[in-house]
Symmetry: D2
Subunit: 361 residues, 4 copies
Amino acid sequence: MTTATEVKTELTATTGGVRTALAGVSGYAGGELARLLLKHPRLQETRPIFIGREATTLSELQPHLYAIDEQELPVVPYPTWSELKAAGVEIIFLATPHEQSREWVPQILNAGLRVVDLSGAWRLKSASNRAVYKLHDADAELAAKLDAEAVFGCPELHHDAIRNARLVANPGCYATSIILALRPLVAAGLVDIEHGIVCDAKSGVSGAGKAPTAKTHFMHAADNLSAYAVFGHRHTGEVLEQVGLPAEALQFTPHLLPIPRGILSTIYLRLKSRMDKAAVEQVFREFYAGHPLVRIFKAGSLPQIQYIVRTNYCDLGFELAADGRRMVLVSCLDNLLKGAAGQAVENMNVMCGWKEEEGLL
Amino acid sequence: MTTATEVKTELTATTGGVRTALAGVSGYAGGELARLLLKHPRLQETRPIFIGREATTLSELQPHLYAIDEQELPVVPYPTWSELKAAGVEIIFLATPHEQSREWVPQILNAGLRVVDLSGAWRLKSASNRAVYKLHDADAELAAKLDAEAVFGCPELHHDAIRNARLVANPGCYATSIILALRPLVAAGLVDIEHGIVCDAKSGVSGAGKAPTAKTHFMHAADNLSAYAVFGHRHTGEVLEQVGLPAEALQFTPHLLPIPRGILSTIYLRLKSRMDKAAVEQVFREFYAGHPLVRIFKAGSLPQIQYIVRTNYCDLGFELAADGRRMVLVSCLDNLLKGAAGQAVENMNVMCGWKEEEGLL
Amino acid sequence: MTTATEVKTELTATTGGVRTALAGVSGYAGGELARLLLKHPRLQETRPIFIGREATTLSELQPHLYAIDEQELPVVPYPTWSELKAAGVEIIFLATPHEQSREWVPQILNAGLRVVDLSGAWRLKSASNRAVYKLHDADAELAAKLDAEAVFGCPELHHDAIRNARLVANPGCYATSIILALRPLVAAGLVDIEHGIVCDAKSGVSGAGKAPTAKTHFMHAADNLSAYAVFGHRHTGEVLEQVGLPAEALQFTPHLLPIPRGILSTIYLRLKSRMDKAAVEQVFREFYAGHPLVRIFKAGSLPQIQYIVRTNYCDLGFELAADGRRMVLVSCLDNLLKGAAGQAVENMNVMCGWKEEEGLL
Amino acid sequence: MTTATEVKTELTATTGGVRTALAGVSGYAGGELARLLLKHPRLQETRPIFIGREATTLSELQPHLYAIDEQELPVVPYPTWSELKAAGVEIIFLATPHEQSREWVPQILNAGLRVVDLSGAWRLKSASNRAVYKLHDADAELAAKLDAEAVFGCPELHHDAIRNARLVANPGCYATSIILALRPLVAAGLVDIEHGIVCDAKSGVSGAGKAPTAKTHFMHAADNLSAYAVFGHRHTGEVLEQVGLPAEALQFTPHLLPIPRGILSTIYLRLKSRMDKAAVEQVFREFYAGHPLVRIFKAGSLPQIQYIVRTNYCDLGFELAADGRRMVLVSCLDNLLKGAAGQAVENMNVMCGWKEEEGLL
């Protein structure tokens, strides 16, 4: 439990450095984000403010953070956004359900705070893609403006827009793994879009959330593999918009892996014309020059989930058929880090003018 | 869904062989029991009747039984016990919560059926041991009589009583693994009881039941190990009563293993006087002669969970210290088979005068 | 150890029923095959003869078979094929490396035995596809004749040829899962072959064999996923030949799953023209009518590895995009059973005129 | 590959801060140690020198360290100890087999370097306990002197001796978990030693080493649990010596858990006289005051492996029976960190006068 005095102390304005707040600290992504923020070198002067429905402590919600949280860090029951602003908060992270984020963001921006939203509420530019989230807006006109204003928080693609953004929509985990793999080739006009692209993606169970369900029961997930949401996963829209693809060009099938965390996407495409491996590798290396959190594997070796679990890297590798056109791309990342909390910190870094990788290596 | 016609068909009396019914087919033990009954060589003429709260089908509740259940086997909404009797049912299996079993058993016996109850409701002879289940009896006097009458369904210990029993209380999973390991040595008066016995037991997640909870979430159970119910697990009373031990002689600590099924109990005791390995092995071999579902390992090799998963065996092995007195016993079984559904079938076999292992190898 | 007397006893001719022999009982597929043969209802009169490099016992090589092997079943050091024939053996199973099978099969056939070979030695009709195995034949002419004579042991495709075959080449595990999924649609001329087919397949670790390697080390396989043999897996040729596809039409990528057993193949294709789900389902149902070991899922529900592990089923399901042309097929089987040992028994059943599923449900 | 120029560069003396070297970087503990040293805040000026049998690179031996190792850190073929000394190395870590460590340590000390040895070569004070390692010394007299001089590298027990030690013997993983749990109670004279203590310990597969063996094969370790080395594990001597127990007082049984890393030890003992929980907790808190890497759980909650995996903590918790005497202690740590590489860094920290936890939180 957090006492009234502790709440007051938390909400007292501080002078040093950038201050952050985090709503939604009880889930997996929120827990990882709390951990990253607490040890971030730029945030040592002013601890993040954790806010939640009820007064509690961080280690109550995330027992494995007991390590960091020796002082029983308070979780403050929802203050007003103005109180957070008055306490010196500049950036607030929302690791909340998309309905909640959709409702809160206009208020938060109005209070003068910047937001990194980890939900799907503000990621999509096209209304038809957004339909999958069944969003209800109190002020539809304002929401439409914010939809247009929101920056898709993929720092490797939108660094400069993120630098000045008020509202950053942190990408989905599957979407990040696929967008980072496809964007360099598609942007260079190398891919036979008409032929279509197959994305066969596999994710660990943390991607299914913390709520205990029949699907997340150990007896269902362990020693198993299953495909789901075939032709209908919510992250499809993000990939289409960010890579620049027509809907019929992408076939995306997610699978539930019997492991705690990690995503591996196997992507099948055809190049418009014959290329050799070195040239393809070069396209990737140039695209991600200056972005150390995307690692390009040498042609002939492929990423594996083990290499990226508990890191903030996205690893990319590929194989090319003898015809120099059929290509298999493999993209790996940790769904809770580069696919969620780590990318959120990366966005904060960019928003503050720090290096993308600060606090993430 | 099961139709009224199907229900009527199910409840029509048949002429061939022994007929059984099963309540509680939705859980893990119930599912295994359904599977075993459906392929039991003695039950091929008259299929078991599955009963449940709502009309449904077996494969709806247990998708992996779709194999056996090509005809969409009906689950019949609770009939009366007399209807079951009239349909020719002789033995009913209850894989239901203990409160339910406690309420139903007097009615079922009254209707002239025999029962194998898989819950903890009727296992304990001592009222103080029973207290842990917080049982409420409509007719306390009758319940006390039935407590006295109930036979603890461990065929290796109580074969003859089970043969004629109306009410068989199928043992707990941990209890089975510990009782089968300890009983031969204690019964022979070889164990230094006063010194005390330590049972460090480890079970797969299916032992925690099918309900999705924080504890059974893949993210909690996987890559983890935890002790629980230290000094307070419900199965303790069964061990004390069946092995014949005073309460202070037994320290039993269960642990949750990151595997679907299987129990391994490591048991530490002292012999009253020095013995050699061959003599100890002989005690076990003689005790279990004629009981092929308990396998004795040669001194120097130990059981492992892998050897017994998906079998109805209980494997026993041991090591003896150089002093010839300190002993480590290792006992392994599949908690859903020898620790639950398989042992229930074994009890049915004995009740019907068949071989213990029939349909179980 | 197996004594000379035991060897002699094993090789004594018996009178009852069909007799079998098995070479290569030490591996995973060989162990499963031993288990299936020992409990096969048609083989109860005359136990299979297990042969190997050295005299030993079955439970020495396969400790988990200790259950079945109470009598310490002997493994006989390689007898001559004539000795096996004289002992009444009709069918010999080879669960040996492909070089070994390639060398032995001509000798075995010459001795008048029939063979089910579980290796890749005799599966491929096209010499160029066969090149991947780097086979060396003592008598190239004879080998070519046998290549032509060998029947690809997929009972659902080649029942009648298997019935009379001397040499049955048991299919690869991945190949079985893909062939059974694709053959009905391709045979009916429904698939847009020119567009190409993507097979993204995932297999448990038992598929990588029993030899301890860096790849099969628990620390590498657990909590991981990796793609391998991209554009170059040996099973590709089987799929091309049996489904009837040109090489460039198939992109097959296998992955190593962190589970002991089970294969799930996710297959992406386009139909030549628009179809509805019911029509597609009907194609599958008709193709596999009378073949109970292939189960067709209702449109809208998909197979999972959990449903088929430790069974001999191949489960098939699919989803169709709104355009009625883009299709995702999911095919699941246990790589050691329907993908190896179980299918070998199925072949024996057909060779002997028994039902495909005998001893396999 | 590492070139001659790179080797020369590595072995050039530097001026800034403490310099370290590490032999044995190919194994699991060595890999973790490399990772920890590379990111240690006190070692940023002068990178550790990695030495090995052959010239290679760190990421060749430890692909998951590719992240840190962008510059392809060289592994230098064994230089002489004097060359290391001349290059400014003060402390050398040996993550080598115990025979190797036994041979090298006298030479290394002679060259004026300090050593942290992760093997079992120098941990034991009693020659009879040491016998289990079958050590052969070129100079037995010198070896005996060094056996006496070596400091058991448990900073929570021997901080001051480690501060000035030339030779620190880094404790075994199981031993660390048991010693830290037992020492406070035994040192305070609270434990009924004569009654005996049972340590039932369970470890992840990384404890079995990187060599692929039948035991470490995924198919053996996964979904399994097995006891091993009953009455004969090598770490027993460390526990006896460091806790201060006669041999017959300790029964220690290790088990192989189906998880990559983590140890949980369940320890059963009797107190000499009745105590309450608060008093027991106080004993632990006082003993470990000022040692933040040992965390004491509040009475009533117990450590789990999940809380300590990939941390350098040892978590301790306990339950007390109603009699106030029978106690169950639970101790958890990561066998590669607090049980090996992390504790080695902790020892370096103490040797250099830094805080125990520096670079480890």
